[in-house]
C-alpha cells in the first residue's frame, strides 16, 4: 500500500473508532437509573421537570425535607390527600428518600 493511501486509511479508521466510541459512550451515559425511571412516572401529573400543572402542586423548587415530609405523610395517611396516598403507599422508604433527592436536585 502506498504511504499516502495508508495514512488516509489510518486517519479514516481513527475517525471511525473515535466516533463510535463517543456515540457508544453517550448512549451508555443516557441509560436511565431506577430513580429516574420512577421519577418520570410522577411527571404525568406534576408536569415536565415537576413544574406543576393546573392545580397539581409543583415539585420543582421544594427542599428535600419538604418532599420526604409530604411523601411519608401521604404513605402513613397522616397527611390528608385526594390521590397521593394511593400512590405513596406503593413506595419503599428508601425510594421516597431517593425520589426526594431527585426532585430537590431539579430546583438547584
Amino acid at each position: 500500500m502506498k504511504r499516502k493511501a495508508r495514512l488516509k486509511l489510518m486517519m479514516g479508521i481513527t475517525a471511525l473508532l473515535f466516533s463510535t466510541t463517543f456515540m457508544a459512550a453517550t448512549s451508555i451515559a443516557a441509560a436511565p437509573s431506577k430513580i429516574e425511571i420512577m421519577a418520570h412516572a410522577c411527571l404525568t401529573c406534576h408536569g415536565p421537570n415537576g413544574v406543576g400543572s393546573g392545580k397539581i402542586p409543583e415539585l420543582n423548587g421544594l427542599e428535600k425535607s419538604d418532599i420526604t415530609e409530604s411523601l411519608f405523610g401521604f404513605k402513613s395517611g397522616d397527611e390528608k390527600s385526594t390521590i397521593m396516598g394511593r400512590h405513596a403507599k406503593a413506595l419503599s422508604d428508601n425510594e421516597i428518600e431517593m425520589l426526594a433527592d431527585y426532585f430537590a436536585s431539579l430546583s438547584q
Binding site: T20, M23, A31, S33, A41, T44, C45, G54, K55, H87
Partner: protein
C-alpha cells in the same frame, strides 16, 4: 497498525465504564450497531408518543421514527367534556411539533400496512418501508363489530361509538344537541377488557349534566356489560345526588350483552334486556388490539398481545414491543395513563438492553380521573410491581366513597391538571 487503535478503543471504552477489557475486543462492531440503532414506533397516541419522546430523552443518539397517520391527535380523555359542551374540540387536539422540534423524533404521517418480522421492516401505505432494530407497537384498539348482528363501522355513522375521539365525538355531540327534550339516550358498554372501563359512567354523568340544563325531561339508560364494581358504586352515589332519576343503570353482565342492533329503528337487543329503543344510541362495541397487531402476528386467541411486563417485549415476535391498550398487562387497566407508564418503562428497557444492562425493579402506575359534573370528580389510582414475572397491584383503588363536596371539587381541578400534565409530557411540549 489497527491493533493500536483497537487497544486505544478498548481503553476509551474502559474509561467510560462500559465493559471489562476482556469483552471489549468484541465491541467495535456492536457498539456501532447500538449507537446507530433504529427504533420505529407505530401509533402516536398515549403509549407511542410517550415512548418515542423518552427513547430520545434517554438516548439522544438513537434514531427514533414515529409512524402515525393523523397530523393531529385528538384525545379520548376529556372527549366526554366536549360532549357536554364544557370544552371545545380544540382543547383535546394536539400536534407533533414538540416531539419533532424539542425531541428530534422523526415523524412519518402514514399507515403501517404490514410488518416483515424476518427482514425487520415496517411497510407503509405510501409504498416505502422503514427498517428497524427494535419496533414498538402502540396501535390502540379495533372493534369486534361481528359480535353484534346488524352493527358495523357503517352503522356507527348513525349509532356512534365515540370510543375513538374525532369525527365520532362531533357526531354524538350533534345528535345530543338535535335531540328533543324527553328523549332517551342509550349508552351500551361492552364487557371487559376494553379501553377506559369507567369512561362510560363519566359519559353518562356529563351527558346528564348537559341535559339537566337544556333538556331536563330526558333520560339516560346505561346498559353495562361489565356489571357491578367499586367504581360503579361511586358513580351511582353521584348520580343520585346530582341527577336524581335521570340516569338508569341496567346490568348487562349476566348474558345481557347487546347481541344485535338495528340502525333504522335505533334499537338494540340483548338477551336479558330484550329490545330497547333510544333517540340517541351510543353503541360501544367489544374491543381487541388494533388490527395491525394481528397482521404482525402479535395477538393470541384473546385478540390482545401477550408481553413480558419487564420490557413489554412481545412473547410471540422477536425485537417487537407492544404497549398501551393493545397489550395484555392485567391487572393494569387500559387507560391513557397506563399507556404512558408503559411507554416510559418500555423506552427505558430498550435503552438499557441496547447498552447491555438489566432493567431495575420499578413501579408501574395508572390513574383515571372521571367527572360526574364540572365541579365533581373522582379518581382511581393504582401502582404495580413485577413479582415472579407478573404485574401485581401494590396499592390504590377508587376515591373514598365518603368525601366532602370540597374534595370532589379538588379532584375536578386536579383532573384538569392531570390532562395538562400528561399531554405536555407525551407531546414534549415546551
Amino acid at each position: 497498525m489497527s491493533q493500536i487503535y483497537r487497544r486505544e478503543f478498548i481503553k476509551l471504552l474502559g474509561a467510560a465504564g462500559i465493559v471489562s477489557a476482556s469483552s471489549g475486543i468484541l465491541l467495535p462492531g456492536i457498539a456501532a450497531a447500538k449507537a446507530n440503532a433504529r427504533v420505529v414506533v407505530v401509533g402516536g397516541g398515549f403509549g407511542g408518543a410517550t415512548c418515542a419522546s423518552y427513547l430520545r430523552q434517554y438516548a439522544p443518539d438513537l434514531e427514533v421514527t414515529l409512524v402515525e397517520p393523523h397530523k393531529e391527535f385528538i384525545t379520548c380523555p376529556f372527549s366526554n367534556t366536549v360532549l357536554a359542551g364544557m370544552k371545545s374540540m380544540d382543547y383535546i387536539t394536539h400536534n407533533y411539533d414538540g416531539l419533532r422540534n424539542n425531541r428530534g423524533v422523526k415523524i412519518v404521517h402514514d399507515w403501517v400496512m404490514d410488518i416483515d418480522t424476518i427482514a425487520k421492516k415496517v411497510k407503509l401505505k405510501g409504498g416505502s418501508s422503514l427498517p428497524y432494530d427494535r419496533l414498538v407497537m402502540s396501535p390502540g384498539v379495533s372493534f369486534n363489530w361481528n359480535e353484534i348482528e346488524g352493527a358495523s363501522e357503517a352503522t356507527s355513522q348513525i349509532m356512534p361509538h365515540a370510543w375513538k375521539a374525532g369525527a365520532q365525538t362531533i357526531l354524538l355531540r350533534k345528535q345530543l344537541e338535535a335531540m328533543k327534550d324527553g328523549g332517551t339516550i342509550i349508552i351500551a358498554s361492552p364487557r371487559k377488557p376494553f379501553r377506559a372501563p369507567p369512561a362510560p359512567y363519566e359519559r353518562a354523568s356529563l351527558i346528564a349534566h348537559y341535559l339537566k340544563k337544556s333538556k331536563p325531561s330526558s333520560k339516560i339508560l346505561v346498559v353495562d356489560s361489565s356489571g357491578e364494581s367499586e367504581a360503579l358504586a361511586l358513580f351511582r352515589k353521584g348520580w343520585k345526588k346530582l341527577y336524581k332519576g335521570m340516569v338508569e343503570w341496567v346490568d348487562g353482565s349476566q348474558q345481557g350483552e347487546i347481541v344485535s342492533a338495528d340502525a333504522k329503528s335505533l334499537s338494540l337487543t340483548g338477551r336479558s334486556v330484550g329490545t330497547i329503543k333510544g333517540d340517541v344510541v351510543n353503541l360501544i362495541p367489544p374491543q381487541r388490539a388494533g388490527d395491525i397487531a394481528k397482521i404482525a402476528g402479535l395477538v393470541d386467541k384473546s385478540g390482545w398481545c401477550p408481553v413480558n411486563p419487564l420490557n413489554f417485549a412481545s412473547t410471540l415476535q422477536k425485537d417487537i414491543h407492544v404497549i398501551g391498550d393493545a397489550c395484555i398487562a392485567e391487572p393494569m387497566e387500559k387507560t391513557g395513563h397506563s399507556a404512558s407508564s408503559q411507554g416510559k418503562i418500555c423506552a427505558a428497557a430498550i435503552v438499557t438492553e441496547l447498552n447491555g444492562g438489566t432493567m431495575p425493579s420499578v413501579t408501574y402506575s395508572t390513574s383515571i380521573y372521571s367527572f360526574l359534573g364540572p365541579k365533581y370528580a373522582v379518581s382511581s389510582a393504582e401502582v404495580f410491581r413485577i413479582k415472579r414475572g407478573k404485574l401485581v397491584q401494590i396499592s390504590g383503588g377508587m376515591s373514598l366513597e365518603k368525601a366532602s363536596r370540597k374534595t370532589r371539587l379538588k379532584e375536578a381541578k386536579f383532573a384538569t391538571g392531570w390532562y395538562k400534565g400528561i399531554t405536555t409530557d407525551m407531546f414534549a411540549k415546551k
